[in-house]
């Protein structure tokens, strides 16, 4: 790497690739070639930088200049001005929205200041398709240390001491899980990486696999060493083609380097990894369901015990961990459990990666120490609510979690605190909602998801969630009664108590937490038949204020069903009988003359 004087890093995460980051890479390379600089400046496509809102991101090293919203046509200017003349391209730099100052180094941006990157340490830093870059950042050093200096039990003890808990949602202590699997004797054991990230609006695991696949392979090998397994399986969603591709490259390179395969580093330890593909079923995130899916069956969960540590894949002892959990392991081995424990809170050590999305200014992927408050995440890192609107709720834990409100903003985020306030950590989706979001509709949205994803094996989840959905639908149609709210609560409790697996045991959480925290909104729906946020179609009407309408005809021209009448320069009228309530008119009106009643 020394031979290059400068490096240009481009985000190759899914979001930035969708915004043409590959074209940027090509144009940068062409521009360098035209100037004869291709031997001096290296262009590297990395994993996700996290600041998806401002993508595509281009970063220049060694001066750490962070360019945002770069377009392919900006490539020439970056080379000409920055690389050759040493002048930063000011128009592509980030401007702090509050101080109105230009910030060129990401370290000083509000979005990055509070972050500590452990699981994401190499994302946006190394080329994920080049094993040498991973090795250059201490990659595979932890595996080497385990194989040559530590006994399997010593490794387990170190992980136990670190306090690492499962990042997939359950929060079970990882070291304990490894110990269980290590104590069960068998002729064959398996290490499984759960990369079936099904929570809608969450993309942490995918970003790690796309940005730093070797960290997961290394950790799986370490886990294999502790429990005496020589086979690793990665269960990954078929919907993640880029992550699959990068994992394949990583596995191939690791084999070539002798870091996977027979007699790794001359230690006599054998370990190899294979891929298994999911096919779009949320319930397969549950470990027993995942194992059945890997066996070629329907991904239905089974009762635990027996736990996978006793009888898992093909009936053999199996240890299943999530991607982010694995990504933490090499760092813990390298830097020690004591170092890791200093980060985070007493019972939830380390950091957590969140996919911050929704009505927030800085959508992106973040990693913060456990114990950071929701307020810090939403306002300091997230940059507050979009379009200056009012914060209403933050949803954590996906379809298994709950909606938290203003009064929870100062709660330090960790596994136990979130459970205590009726939500959960989940895998790390964090969706911010503003005053325009109807909480009954949000609950309905999640139930729609659960109903579709329920595997159907146990009745409370299969039938109960459907009934919950129907009740919510009735309320959003304006036909609900106050008794329905009690019914919702009762039914929710029954489903939680009697469902077979984690899906049903948590699926009523969005309903319970919204009833608890937004009771007034439910009451408005069932008693006044009004939707305070104006989201429930059946309860609203679009109207044009004749005082504000200037008769520009824009709304009428954009109405897909031609239900807006009116002459030029005259106030327009919406025919509410024909209106399909699509909202296109309100979106287009430049005079705020259209409102919902």
């Amino acid at each position: 790497m020394e031979k290059y004087k400068m490096h240009i890093l481009i985000c190759g995460g899914t979001g930035c690739r969708a915004s043409a980051s590959e074209a940027i890479q090509n144009n940068l390379q062409d521009a360098l070639k035209a100037k004869g600089l291709e031997e001096e400046v290296q262009v590297v496509m990395t994993g996700c930088f996290g600041f998806c809102e401002k993508g595509p991101i281009v970063k220049i090293l060694p001066d750490n200049t962070f360019y945002i919203e770069v377009k392919p046509e900006d490539a020439e200017e970056i080379i000409e001005e920055h690389i050759i003349k040493g002048r930063k391209v000011m128009r592509l730099l980030y401007t702090d929205p509050e101080k109105k100052e230009v910030v060129s180094d990401s370290k000083h941006m509000g979005f990055y200041k509070k972050q500590i990157r452990i699981a994401l340490r190499n994302c946006g830093f190394i080329n994920p398709e080049n094993i040498n870059e991973y090795i250059a950042t201490d990659g595979y050093a932890a595996l080497g240390k385990c194989l040559t200096e530590m006994t399997p039990q010593a490794v387990i003890d170190e992980i136990k001491e670190s306090g690492l808990r499962g990042r997939g949602g359950g929060g079970f202590p990882t070291g304990l899980k490894w110990e269980f699997a290590s104590k069960n004797e068998a002729d064959q054991k398996y290490v499984v990486c759960n990369a079936d990230e099904g929570d809608p609006g969450a993309f942490m695991d995918r970003s790690i696999l796309e940005g730093d696949p070797h960290s997961v392979l290394e950790a799986m090998a370490i886990c294999g060493y502790t429990m005496g397994a020589d086979k690793g399986l990665i269960y990954i969603r078929a919907e993640y083609p880029l992550a699959i591709e990068r994992l394949k490259v990583a596995i191939k390179q690791a084999r070539e380097y002798g870091l996977l395969g027979k007699d790794i580093m001359g230690s006599g330890f054998n370990f190899d990894v294979e891929m298994r593909y999911g096919a779009g079923a949320f319930v397969c995130g549950e470990e027993t369901a995942l194992i059945h899916s890997m066996e070629g069956l329907r991904g239905e969960p089974t009762v635990k015990p027996p736990f996978p540590a006793e009888s898992g894949y093909n009936g053999k002892p199996t240890n299943v961990n999530n991607v982010e959990t694995f990504a933490n392991v090499p760092v813990i081995i390298n830097k020690g459990a004591k170092w890791f424990k200093k980060i985070g809170t007493e019972k939830s050590t380390g950091t957590k990666v969140f996919a911050l999305a929704g009505k927030i200014n800085n959508v992106g992927l973040i990693e913060v120490p456990m114990g950071t408050t929701l307020r810090e995440v939403i306002y300091e890192i997230g940059g507050g609510i979009k379009d200056g609107k009012k914060f209403k709720a933050v949803q954590t834990g996906g379809p298994s979690g709950g909606c938290l409100t203003e009064k929870h903003l100062d709660t330090p985020i960790d596994f136990d605190n979130l459970l205590a306030v009726g939500s959960m950590m989940g895998s790390g989706g964090m969706i911010v909602m503003d005053e325009d979001d109807c909480m009954v509709s949000v609950a309905k949205f999640y139930l729609d998801f659960t109903v579709e994803e329920s595997c159907g094996k146990c009745t409370p989840c299969r039938v109960g969630n459907k009934r919950l959905y129907e009740l919510l639908d009735k309320i959003t149609e304006g036909k609900g009664t106050k008794e329905d709210l009690d019914l919702l609560r009762n039914l929710s409790t029954v489903i939680k108590d009697t469902s077979l697996c984690g899906l049903g045991q948590t699926s009523p959480n969005p309903v319970l937490s919204t009833i608890e925290n937004f009771y007034d909104e439910y009451i408005a729906h069932v008693e006044e038949h009004k939707c305070p946020s104006g989201q429930c179609k059946a309860l609203m009407q679009y109207v044009i204020d004749p005082e504000l309408c200037v008769g520009c005809t824009l709304c009428a021209r954009n109405c897909p069903v031609d239900c807006i009448a009116g002459d030029r320069k005259e106030a327009h009228i919406i025919d509410t009988a024909k209106c399909i309530k699509c909202g296109a008119c309100m979106e287009k009106c430049k005079f705020n003359a259209i409102s919902i009643q």
């Binding site: 979001g15 969708a18 995918r206 996919a355 969706i431 999640y446 979106e587």
Partner: protein, 159 residues
């Protein structure tokens, strides 16, 4: 079992796929992935041949195909439209975009237009949440889509 009407070349291809996974019943999902990649969808006949080759019941194959949303028993359109209904897209108005696609093309979710050009499906999070709401048509990704943009997007593919 119904009489197989698939062309022989296609049957051979399927037999070959099954063989590449050693005709192992436990490889069913991988076989289905490969078969769908080859044929675009998994009609009943394809499932019958796979069942025969892997020596499992057709009911078992059908059970797996219908369990996973990634597998489809109907062909997709020439331009498969997928609207992301992940939470991030949902709160940024994906539902309105979906309604508009359904209305303009006059097909429900999961079906294909009569001319075979477009099919509509919902998917859960493509991970481009910074661009929400997101619509994908084939390989192409459209970000920050509003209901008002739908007509123009469809027009791009109609010529």
């Amino acid at each position: 079992m119904a009489k197989i009407k698939l062309a022989k070349s296609k049957v051979d291809k399927l037999v070959e796929i099954c063989k590449s996974f050693n005709n192992e019943g436990s490889e069913l999902i991988n076989v289905l992935h490969k078969a769908q990649e080859t044929f675009g969808y998994l009609p009943a006949e394809v499932q019958e041949i796979i069942a025969r080759e892997l020596n499992v019941s057709v009911a078992h194959v059908y059970g797996v195909v219908t369990f996973y949303s990634f597998f489809s028993m109907v062909p997709k359109g020439e331009f498969p439209i997928s609207i992301c209904m992940g939470t991030a897209c949902y709160v940024r108005g994906a539902e309105k975009v979906l309604e508009e696609f359904k209305r303009q093309l006059n097909v429900p979710v999961g079906e294909t237009t009569e001319d075979g050009k477009f099919s509509i499906s919902c998917l859960r999070c493509v991970g481009a949440c910074g661009l929400a709401p997101v619509v994908t048509i084939g390989e192409r990704v459209y970000g920050r889509v509003a209901a008002g943009d739908v007509a123009d997007i469809i027009k791009e593919y109609q010529s």
